[in-house]
Protein backbone atom coordinates (compact mmCIF):
# COMPACT_ATOMS: atom_id res chain seq x y z
CA UNK A 1 0.00 0.00 0.00
CA UNK A 2 1.38 3.37 -0.91
CA UNK A 3 1.58 6.14 1.63
CA UNK A 4 -1.58 8.13 1.48
CA UNK A 5 -1.21 11.84 0.88
CA UNK A 6 -3.46 13.70 3.25
CA UNK A 7 -4.39 16.88 1.51
CA UNK A 8 -5.58 19.41 4.05
CA UNK A 9 -5.53 22.39 1.74
CA UNK A 10 -8.98 23.77 1.05
CA UNK A 11 -10.56 26.67 -0.80
CA UNK A 12 -9.85 28.78 2.29
CA UNK A 13 -6.15 28.35 1.65
CA UNK A 14 -6.46 29.78 -1.82
CA UNK A 15 -5.23 33.36 -1.78
CA UNK A 16 -7.97 35.68 -3.04
CA UNK A 17 -7.44 36.33 -6.70
CA UNK A 18 -7.11 40.12 -6.52
CA UNK A 19 -4.68 39.99 -3.63
CA UNK A 20 -2.19 37.61 -5.18
CA UNK A 21 -2.52 39.17 -8.58
CA UNK A 22 -1.30 42.39 -7.04
CA UNK A 23 1.45 40.51 -5.22
CA UNK A 24 2.60 38.89 -8.44
CA UNK A 25 2.69 42.22 -10.24
CA UNK A 26 4.99 43.58 -7.56
CA UNK A 27 7.20 40.48 -7.78
CA UNK A 28 7.32 40.66 -11.56
CA UNK A 29 8.29 44.31 -11.33
CA UNK A 30 11.07 43.58 -8.87
CA UNK A 31 12.33 40.69 -10.96
CA UNK A 32 12.37 42.95 -13.98
CA UNK A 33 14.52 45.44 -12.12
CA UNK A 34 16.89 42.65 -11.19
CA UNK A 35 16.12 43.21 -7.51
CA UNK A 36 15.33 39.55 -7.09
CA UNK A 37 16.35 36.89 -9.53
CA UNK A 38 15.76 33.54 -7.86
CA UNK A 39 17.54 31.50 -10.52
CA UNK A 40 16.90 27.85 -9.94
CA UNK A 41 14.69 28.45 -6.93
CA UNK A 42 13.26 25.14 -5.82
CA UNK A 43 9.59 24.74 -6.56
CA UNK A 44 9.00 22.87 -3.31
CA UNK A 45 10.24 25.81 -1.26
CA UNK A 46 7.48 28.09 -2.40
CA UNK A 47 3.90 27.78 -1.24
CA UNK A 48 1.49 26.42 -3.84
CA UNK A 49 -0.13 29.57 -5.07
CA UNK A 50 -2.74 28.66 -7.67
CA UNK A 51 -2.70 30.33 -11.06
CA UNK A 52 -5.65 32.55 -11.86
CA UNK A 53 -8.84 31.12 -13.30
CA UNK A 54 -8.12 33.13 -16.43
CA UNK A 55 -4.62 31.69 -16.85
CA UNK A 56 -5.85 28.15 -16.31
CA UNK A 57 -8.69 28.56 -18.81
CA UNK A 58 -6.96 30.49 -21.63
CA UNK A 59 -3.60 28.69 -21.91
CA UNK A 60 -4.39 25.11 -22.83
CA UNK A 61 -3.32 22.19 -24.92
CA UNK A 62 -6.44 20.45 -26.20
CA UNK A 63 -5.58 19.55 -29.78
CA UNK A 64 -9.16 18.54 -30.59
CA UNK A 65 -9.81 22.30 -30.59
CA UNK A 66 -6.63 23.48 -32.33
CA UNK A 67 -2.92 23.49 -31.63
CA UNK A 68 -2.55 27.09 -30.43
CA UNK A 69 -2.59 27.69 -26.68
CA UNK A 70 -5.59 30.03 -26.93
CA UNK A 71 -7.46 27.88 -29.49
CA UNK A 72 -9.23 25.68 -26.91
CA UNK A 73 -10.64 28.69 -25.06
CA UNK A 74 -11.94 30.03 -28.39
CA UNK A 75 -13.26 26.78 -29.86
CA UNK A 76 -14.21 24.49 -26.98
CA UNK A 77 -17.63 26.09 -26.45
CA UNK A 78 -18.71 23.74 -29.24
CA UNK A 79 -17.99 20.66 -27.13
CA UNK A 80 -21.26 18.81 -26.52
CA UNK A 81 -21.22 17.80 -22.84
CA UNK A 82 -24.85 16.77 -22.47
CA UNK A 83 -25.68 13.96 -22.41
CA UNK A 84 -22.41 12.50 -21.11
CA UNK A 85 -21.48 9.07 -19.91
CA UNK A 86 -18.38 7.01 -19.17
CA UNK A 87 -18.27 3.35 -20.15
CA UNK A 88 -15.95 1.15 -18.11
CA UNK A 89 -15.19 -2.02 -20.05
CA UNK A 90 -12.42 -4.37 -21.21
CA UNK A 91 -10.96 -6.94 -18.84
CA UNK A 92 -13.78 -6.65 -16.29
CA UNK A 93 -16.46 -9.08 -15.17
CA UNK A 94 -19.27 -6.80 -16.20
CA UNK A 95 -18.88 -3.50 -18.06
CA UNK A 96 -20.87 -0.52 -16.78
CA UNK A 97 -21.93 2.80 -18.25
CA UNK A 98 -22.32 5.69 -15.85
CA UNK A 99 -24.12 8.81 -16.96
CA UNK A 100 -23.04 12.21 -15.69
CA UNK A 101 -25.78 12.26 -13.06
CA UNK A 102 -24.32 9.09 -11.55
CA UNK A 103 -20.80 10.54 -11.73
CA UNK A 104 -21.99 13.74 -10.05
CA UNK A 105 -23.16 11.78 -7.03
CA UNK A 106 -19.59 10.95 -6.10
CA UNK A 107 -18.50 13.49 -3.46
CA UNK A 108 -15.68 15.76 -4.58
CA UNK A 109 -12.86 17.44 -2.70
CA UNK A 110 -10.38 20.15 -3.63
CA UNK A 111 -6.86 19.16 -4.63
CA UNK A 112 -4.33 21.92 -5.27
CA UNK A 113 -1.77 20.31 -7.56
CA UNK A 114 1.27 21.39 -9.50
CA UNK A 115 0.72 20.80 -13.22
CA UNK A 116 3.83 20.34 -15.36
CA UNK A 117 3.47 20.32 -19.14
CA UNK A 118 5.94 18.31 -21.23
CA UNK A 119 6.63 21.64 -23.01
CA UNK A 120 8.41 22.89 -19.86
CA UNK A 121 5.80 25.26 -18.50
CA UNK A 122 3.78 24.73 -15.36
CA UNK A 123 0.85 25.96 -13.33
CA UNK A 124 -0.74 25.32 -9.94
CA UNK A 125 -4.38 24.35 -10.27
CA UNK A 126 -7.08 23.98 -7.61
CA UNK A 127 -9.00 21.00 -8.96
CA UNK A 128 -12.28 19.61 -7.67
CA UNK A 129 -12.70 15.90 -8.07
CA UNK A 130 -12.58 12.44 -6.56
CA UNK A 131 -10.02 9.67 -6.53
CA UNK A 132 -10.07 7.58 -9.67
CA UNK A 133 -10.05 4.41 -7.57
CA UNK A 134 -13.59 5.28 -6.46
CA UNK A 135 -14.68 5.01 -10.08
CA UNK A 136 -12.62 1.92 -10.83
CA UNK A 137 -14.21 0.18 -7.84
CA UNK A 138 -17.53 0.22 -9.71
CA UNK A 139 -16.35 -2.80 -11.70
CA UNK A 140 -14.65 -6.06 -10.86
CA UNK A 141 -11.52 -6.39 -12.99
CA UNK A 142 -10.39 -9.79 -14.21
CA UNK A 143 -7.25 -11.05 -12.41
CA UNK A 144 -5.34 -10.56 -15.67
CA UNK A 145 -6.06 -6.82 -15.86
CA UNK A 146 -2.84 -4.77 -15.47
CA UNK A 147 -3.57 -1.41 -17.08
CA UNK A 148 -6.36 1.04 -17.81
CA UNK A 149 -6.79 2.98 -21.00
CA UNK A 150 -8.74 6.25 -21.20
CA UNK A 151 -10.41 7.71 -24.26
CA UNK A 152 -11.51 11.26 -25.05
CA UNK A 153 -14.78 12.01 -26.82
CA UNK A 154 -14.60 12.48 -30.58
CA UNK A 155 -17.05 15.02 -32.02
CA UNK A 156 -15.79 15.86 -35.52
CA UNK A 157 -18.55 18.39 -36.12
CA UNK A 158 -17.55 20.27 -32.98
CA UNK A 159 -13.80 19.69 -32.98
CA UNK A 160 -11.74 21.50 -35.59
CA UNK A 161 -8.56 19.63 -34.63
CA UNK A 162 -10.27 16.28 -35.23
CA UNK A 163 -11.36 17.39 -38.70
CA UNK A 164 -7.78 18.49 -39.45
CA UNK A 165 -6.44 15.16 -38.15
CA UNK A 166 -3.87 16.91 -35.95
CA UNK A 167 -3.37 13.62 -34.07
CA UNK A 168 -4.56 10.04 -34.37
CA UNK A 169 -7.92 10.63 -32.67
CA UNK A 170 -9.62 9.56 -30.44
CA UNK A 171 -7.03 10.79 -27.96
CA UNK A 172 -6.06 7.93 -25.70
CA UNK A 173 -3.97 7.67 -22.56
CA UNK A 174 -3.17 4.92 -20.11
CA UNK A 175 -1.87 4.08 -16.67
CA UNK A 176 -0.66 1.00 -14.91
CA UNK A 177 -3.38 -0.16 -12.53
CA UNK A 178 -1.38 0.72 -9.39
CA UNK A 179 -0.79 4.22 -10.76
CA UNK A 180 -4.49 4.54 -11.53
CA UNK A 181 -5.42 3.47 -7.99
CA UNK A 182 -2.91 5.80 -6.34
CA UNK A 183 -4.68 8.28 -4.06
CA UNK A 184 -3.08 11.25 -5.86
CA UNK A 185 -4.75 10.22 -9.13
CA UNK A 186 -8.08 11.97 -9.45
CA UNK A 187 -10.97 12.42 -11.83
CA UNK A 188 -11.60 16.16 -11.86
CA UNK A 189 -15.03 17.62 -12.51
CA UNK A 190 -14.20 21.23 -11.76
CA UNK A 191 -11.63 23.85 -10.80
CA UNK A 192 -11.88 26.86 -8.48
CA UNK A 193 -15.19 25.37 -7.36
CA UNK A 194 -16.70 25.88 -10.81
CA UNK A 195 -17.84 23.09 -13.12
CA UNK A 196 -14.98 22.02 -15.41
CA UNK A 197 -14.63 24.56 -18.24
CA UNK A 198 -14.85 22.93 -21.67
CA UNK A 199 -11.30 23.87 -22.64
CA UNK A 200 -9.98 22.13 -19.51
CA UNK A 201 -11.71 18.85 -20.34
CA UNK A 202 -15.38 19.13 -19.40
CA UNK A 203 -17.25 17.47 -17.94
CA UNK A 204 -14.73 15.07 -16.43
CA UNK A 205 -11.00 14.50 -16.87
CA UNK A 206 -8.07 12.68 -15.38
CA UNK A 207 -5.38 14.44 -13.29
CA UNK A 208 -2.12 12.61 -12.56
CA UNK A 209 0.01 15.33 -10.96
CA UNK A 210 3.40 13.55 -11.06
CA UNK A 211 3.25 12.94 -14.82
CA UNK A 212 3.54 15.33 -17.75
CA UNK A 213 0.26 17.08 -18.47
CA UNK A 214 -0.61 15.17 -21.63
CA UNK A 215 -1.17 12.05 -19.48
CA UNK A 216 -4.05 13.88 -17.75
CA UNK A 217 -6.53 13.13 -20.50
CA UNK A 218 -9.59 15.35 -20.94
CA UNK A 219 -13.31 14.82 -21.60
CA UNK A 220 -13.25 11.09 -20.92
CA UNK A 221 -15.94 8.80 -22.35
CA UNK A 222 -14.34 5.38 -21.91
CA UNK A 223 -12.10 3.58 -19.43
CA UNK A 224 -10.89 0.16 -20.59
CA UNK A 225 -9.09 -2.37 -18.41
CA UNK A 226 -6.36 -4.13 -20.41
CA UNK A 227 -3.87 -6.92 -19.91
CA UNK A 228 -1.14 -5.33 -22.04
CA UNK A 229 0.26 -1.80 -22.00
CA UNK A 230 -2.44 0.08 -23.91
CA UNK A 231 -2.14 2.29 -26.99
CA UNK A 232 -1.52 5.89 -25.97
CA UNK A 233 -1.68 8.71 -28.52
CA UNK A 234 1.58 10.64 -28.05
CA UNK A 235 3.59 7.51 -27.37
CA UNK A 236 2.31 6.06 -30.65
CA UNK A 237 3.22 9.26 -32.53
CA UNK A 238 6.75 9.49 -31.16
CA UNK A 239 7.85 6.91 -28.57
CA UNK A 240 11.30 8.47 -28.09
CA UNK A 241 9.72 11.79 -27.08
CA UNK A 242 6.71 10.57 -25.12
CA UNK A 243 7.17 7.42 -23.07
CA UNK A 244 4.25 5.41 -21.72
CA UNK A 245 5.10 6.44 -18.16
CA UNK A 246 6.08 10.07 -18.85
CA UNK A 247 6.78 10.78 -15.21
CA UNK A 248 8.05 14.30 -14.65
CA UNK A 249 11.81 13.81 -14.52
CA UNK A 250 14.30 16.70 -14.65
CA UNK A 251 17.12 14.24 -15.43
CA UNK A 252 15.62 12.89 -18.66
CA UNK A 253 15.39 15.49 -21.40
CA UNK A 254 12.80 15.56 -24.11
CA UNK A 255 14.93 14.96 -27.25
CA UNK A 256 14.12 18.46 -28.47
CA UNK A 257 14.41 20.41 -25.22
CA UNK A 258 15.64 20.22 -21.65
CA UNK A 259 13.28 19.15 -18.87
CA UNK A 260 15.59 20.37 -16.09
CA UNK A 261 13.74 23.63 -15.58
CA UNK A 262 10.26 24.98 -16.11
CA UNK A 263 8.51 28.31 -16.36
CA UNK A 264 5.61 28.86 -14.01
CA UNK A 265 2.86 30.61 -15.93
CA UNK A 266 1.93 34.04 -14.59
CA UNK A 267 5.30 35.65 -13.94
CA UNK A 268 5.29 38.08 -16.83
CA UNK A 269 7.86 38.86 -19.49
CA UNK A 270 10.84 38.68 -17.12
CA UNK A 271 9.77 35.50 -15.36
CA UNK A 272 12.63 33.28 -14.15
CA UNK A 273 12.82 29.57 -14.77
CA UNK A 274 12.70 27.29 -11.77
CA UNK A 275 14.09 23.80 -11.27
CA UNK A 276 11.75 20.97 -12.20
CA UNK A 277 11.28 18.53 -9.35
CA UNK A 278 11.46 14.74 -9.63
CA UNK A 279 7.91 13.42 -10.02
CA UNK A 280 6.86 17.08 -10.09
CA UNK A 281 7.43 17.34 -6.34
CA UNK A 282 5.42 14.22 -5.44
CA UNK A 283 8.43 11.94 -5.05
CA UNK A 284 7.64 10.98 -1.44
CA UNK A 285 4.18 9.85 -2.47
CA UNK A 286 4.85 7.99 -5.71
CA UNK A 287 8.51 6.92 -5.95
CA UNK A 288 7.76 3.45 -4.58
CA UNK A 289 5.50 2.75 -7.57
CA UNK A 290 8.65 2.61 -9.69
CA UNK A 291 10.98 0.69 -7.40
CA UNK A 292 13.45 -1.38 -9.41
CA UNK A 293 12.68 0.44 -12.65
CA UNK A 294 15.35 2.38 -14.53
CA UNK A 295 13.48 5.62 -15.15
CA UNK A 296 16.08 6.83 -17.64
CA UNK A 297 15.16 3.88 -19.88
CA UNK A 298 11.50 3.31 -19.07
CA UNK A 299 10.47 6.88 -19.72
Amino acid sequence: MTRRRIDRLTQDDVTPKELWLKRRQILAGLAGLGAIAPMGARASDEPLEPNTFEEITTYNNFYEFGTGKSDPSKNAHKLQTEPWSITIDGAVEEPVTLDFAALSEIPTEERIYRFRCVEAWSMVIPWNGFELSQLLDRVTPLPSAQYVQFETAVQPDNMIGVRRKVLNFPYREGLRLDEARHPLTIMATGLYGEPMPNQNGAPIRLVVPWKYGFKSIKSIVRITFTEEEPFTTWNDLNPSEYGFYSNVNPNVDHPRWSQATERRIGGGLFNSRQDTLMFNGYEDEVADLYEGMDLTVQI
Binding site: E55, R164, L167, R256, W257, S258, G266, L269, F270
Partner: protein
Protein backbone atom coordinates in the same frame (compact mmCIF):
# COMPACT_ATOMS: atom_id res chain seq x y z
CA UNK B 1 -2.88 52.82 -68.11
CA UNK B 2 -3.15 49.19 -66.98
CA UNK B 3 -3.28 48.10 -63.37
CA UNK B 4 0.27 46.82 -63.74
CA UNK B 5 1.56 50.17 -64.97
CA UNK B 6 -0.34 51.90 -62.19
CA UNK B 7 1.33 49.75 -59.53
CA UNK B 8 4.73 50.25 -61.11
CA UNK B 9 4.24 54.03 -61.18
CA UNK B 10 3.02 54.10 -57.59
CA UNK B 11 5.90 51.89 -56.44
CA UNK B 12 8.39 54.30 -58.00
CA UNK B 13 6.97 57.15 -55.95
CA UNK B 14 6.49 55.26 -52.69
CA UNK B 15 9.46 55.60 -50.32
CA UNK B 16 10.93 52.59 -48.46
CA UNK B 17 11.27 54.17 -45.00
CA UNK B 18 7.63 53.47 -44.00
CA UNK B 19 8.44 49.74 -44.17
CA UNK B 20 11.20 50.13 -41.57
CA UNK B 21 8.92 52.27 -39.44
CA UNK B 22 6.09 49.72 -39.63
CA UNK B 23 8.46 46.90 -38.65
CA UNK B 24 9.75 48.85 -35.64
CA UNK B 25 6.22 49.76 -34.64
CA UNK B 26 5.08 46.14 -34.91
CA UNK B 27 8.07 44.89 -32.88
CA UNK B 28 7.47 47.52 -30.23
CA UNK B 29 3.75 46.82 -30.10
CA UNK B 30 4.34 43.09 -29.63
CA UNK B 31 6.86 43.82 -26.87
CA UNK B 32 4.32 46.06 -25.18
CA UNK B 33 1.68 43.31 -25.39
CA UNK B 34 4.13 40.98 -23.68
CA UNK B 35 4.97 43.53 -21.02
CA UNK B 36 1.42 44.60 -20.28
CA UNK B 37 0.09 41.13 -19.52
CA UNK B 38 -2.01 40.73 -22.66
CA UNK B 39 -0.66 37.19 -23.06
CA UNK B 40 -0.80 34.46 -20.43
CA UNK B 41 2.67 33.25 -21.45
CA UNK B 42 4.41 36.37 -22.81
CA UNK B 43 7.92 34.95 -23.26
CA UNK B 44 7.03 32.08 -25.54
CA UNK B 45 4.42 34.14 -27.38
CA UNK B 46 6.81 37.02 -28.08
CA UNK B 47 9.46 34.56 -29.22
CA UNK B 48 6.99 33.03 -31.66
CA UNK B 49 5.65 36.36 -32.90
CA UNK B 50 9.14 37.61 -33.73
CA UNK B 51 10.12 34.28 -35.28
CA UNK B 52 7.03 34.19 -37.49
CA UNK B 53 7.55 37.83 -38.50
CA UNK B 54 11.14 36.99 -39.49
CA UNK B 55 10.09 34.06 -41.64
CA UNK B 56 7.20 35.98 -43.18
CA UNK B 57 9.50 38.87 -44.15
CA UNK B 58 12.14 36.50 -45.49
CA UNK B 59 9.48 34.85 -47.67
CA UNK B 60 8.16 38.28 -48.70
CA UNK B 61 11.64 39.22 -49.92
CA UNK B 62 11.62 36.08 -52.06
CA UNK B 63 8.39 37.13 -53.81
CA UNK B 64 9.95 40.24 -55.38
CA UNK B 65 11.75 38.46 -58.21
CA UNK B 66 8.88 36.14 -59.27
CA UNK B 67 6.47 39.11 -59.15
CA UNK B 68 8.76 40.91 -61.58
CA UNK B 69 9.31 37.85 -63.79
CA UNK B 70 5.72 36.66 -64.02
CA UNK B 71 3.57 39.75 -63.35
CA UNK B 72 5.96 42.37 -64.76
CA UNK B 73 5.53 44.42 -61.59
CA UNK B 74 8.75 45.90 -60.32
CA UNK B 75 8.97 46.13 -56.53
CA UNK B 76 12.69 45.54 -56.37
CA UNK B 77 13.38 48.79 -54.54
CA UNK B 78 11.61 47.31 -51.49
CA UNK B 79 13.57 44.06 -51.42
CA UNK B 80 16.47 45.31 -49.32
CA UNK B 81 14.04 46.71 -46.73
CA UNK B 82 12.20 43.37 -46.53
CA UNK B 83 15.46 41.48 -46.12
CA UNK B 84 16.81 43.81 -43.44
CA UNK B 85 13.50 43.74 -41.59
CA UNK B 86 13.59 39.94 -41.70
CA UNK B 87 17.10 40.03 -40.23
CA UNK B 88 15.98 42.47 -37.56
CA UNK B 89 13.20 40.07 -36.48
CA UNK B 90 15.63 37.12 -36.51
CA UNK B 91 17.85 39.05 -34.09
CA UNK B 92 14.83 39.97 -31.93
CA UNK B 93 13.67 36.35 -31.97
CA UNK B 94 17.15 35.18 -30.95
CA UNK B 95 17.43 37.74 -28.15
CA UNK B 96 14.04 36.88 -26.66
CA UNK B 97 14.99 33.21 -26.78
CA UNK B 98 18.45 33.68 -25.25
CA UNK B 99 17.75 36.39 -22.67
CA UNK B 100 14.13 35.87 -21.64
CA UNK B 101 13.49 32.20 -22.40
CA UNK B 102 16.69 30.23 -21.79
CA UNK B 103 18.18 32.90 -19.49
CA UNK B 104 21.70 31.50 -19.27
CA UNK B 105 24.61 31.72 -21.68
CA UNK B 106 25.84 28.19 -20.94
CA UNK B 107 22.37 26.78 -21.61
CA UNK B 108 22.08 28.83 -24.81
CA UNK B 109 25.28 27.20 -26.03
CA UNK B 110 24.19 23.75 -24.80
CA UNK B 111 20.91 24.09 -26.70
CA UNK B 112 22.64 25.21 -29.90
CA UNK B 113 24.94 22.19 -29.79
CA UNK B 114 22.49 19.62 -28.47
CA UNK B 115 19.04 20.45 -29.92
CA UNK B 116 18.89 19.92 -33.68
CA UNK B 117 16.03 22.37 -34.23
CA UNK B 118 17.98 25.07 -32.40
CA UNK B 119 21.15 24.20 -34.35
CA UNK B 120 19.26 24.52 -37.61
CA UNK B 121 17.77 27.88 -36.61
CA UNK B 122 21.16 29.13 -35.49
CA UNK B 123 22.84 28.12 -38.77
CA UNK B 124 20.09 29.94 -40.67
CA UNK B 125 20.73 33.03 -38.53
CA UNK B 126 24.49 32.89 -39.15
CA UNK B 127 23.95 32.51 -42.92
CA UNK B 128 21.93 35.74 -42.90
CA UNK B 129 24.64 37.80 -41.19
CA UNK B 130 26.79 38.33 -44.35
CA UNK B 131 23.64 39.31 -46.24
CA UNK B 132 22.70 41.98 -43.73
CA UNK B 133 26.34 43.14 -43.55
CA UNK B 134 26.52 43.67 -47.32
CA UNK B 135 23.38 45.71 -47.83
CA UNK B 136 24.84 49.22 -47.76
CA UNK B 137 25.15 50.86 -51.21
CA UNK B 138 28.84 51.53 -50.69
CA UNK B 139 29.56 47.86 -49.97
CA UNK B 140 27.39 46.66 -52.86
CA UNK B 141 29.37 48.89 -55.23
CA UNK B 142 32.67 47.70 -53.80
CA UNK B 143 31.71 44.03 -54.13
CA UNK B 144 30.37 44.31 -57.64
CA UNK B 145 27.14 42.68 -58.83
CA UNK B 146 28.52 39.18 -59.43
CA UNK B 147 30.04 38.62 -56.01
CA UNK B 148 27.13 40.37 -54.30
CA UNK B 149 24.59 38.15 -56.04
CA UNK B 150 26.59 35.05 -55.23
CA UNK B 151 26.73 35.94 -51.51
CA UNK B 152 23.03 36.75 -51.43
CA UNK B 153 22.14 33.30 -52.74
CA UNK B 154 22.71 32.29 -49.10
CA UNK B 155 19.13 33.40 -48.55
CA UNK B 156 17.94 30.14 -50.13
CA UNK B 157 19.57 27.74 -47.65
CA UNK B 158 18.75 30.21 -44.84
CA UNK B 159 15.03 30.27 -45.59
CA UNK B 160 14.91 26.50 -45.95
CA UNK B 161 16.65 26.11 -42.58
CA UNK B 162 14.18 28.57 -41.05
CA UNK B 163 11.29 26.48 -42.39
CA UNK B 164 12.88 23.30 -41.03
CA UNK B 165 13.42 25.02 -37.67
CA UNK B 166 9.70 25.81 -37.53
CA UNK B 167 8.56 22.37 -38.75
CA UNK B 168 10.81 20.64 -36.23
CA UNK B 169 9.34 22.56 -33.32
CA UNK B 170 5.77 21.47 -33.99
CA UNK B 171 4.07 18.75 -31.99
CA UNK B 172 1.51 16.74 -33.97
CA UNK B 173 0.30 17.72 -37.43
CA UNK B 174 0.25 21.53 -37.48
CA UNK B 175 -0.83 23.62 -40.45
CA UNK B 176 1.22 26.83 -40.05
CA UNK B 177 4.78 25.46 -40.37
CA UNK B 178 3.69 23.31 -43.30
CA UNK B 179 2.07 26.31 -45.01
CA UNK B 180 5.25 28.39 -44.64
CA UNK B 181 7.29 25.50 -46.00
CA UNK B 182 5.02 24.93 -49.03
CA UNK B 183 5.02 28.63 -49.94
CA UNK B 184 8.81 28.75 -49.65
CA UNK B 185 9.27 25.69 -51.84
CA UNK B 186 6.86 27.23 -54.37
CA UNK B 187 8.87 30.46 -54.49
CA UNK B 188 12.11 28.55 -54.94
CA UNK B 189 10.63 26.37 -57.71
CA UNK B 190 9.52 29.50 -59.59
CA UNK B 191 13.19 30.44 -59.77
CA UNK B 192 14.12 27.20 -61.53
CA UNK B 193 11.78 27.83 -64.46
CA UNK B 194 13.51 30.68 -66.33
CA UNK B 195 16.78 28.73 -66.27
CA UNK B 196 15.08 25.78 -67.99
CA UNK B 197 13.58 28.09 -70.61
CA UNK B 198 16.98 29.50 -71.41
CA UNK B 199 18.45 26.02 -71.68
CA UNK B 200 15.64 24.93 -74.01
CA UNK B 201 16.20 27.97 -76.21
Amino acid sequence: MSVKDGINAAARKFPTWPLYLAALAYAGWQFWLGLSGAWVEPINTLERQYGEAALTMLIASLTITPIREYLRINLIKFRRALGLIAFFFVVAHFLVWALLDVQSLSRVWADIVKRPYVTVGMVGFVLLIPLAATSANRIIRKMGPILWRRVHKLVYPAVLLACLHYLWLARGFQIEPIAYFVVTIGLLVLRLKPVKRRVAA
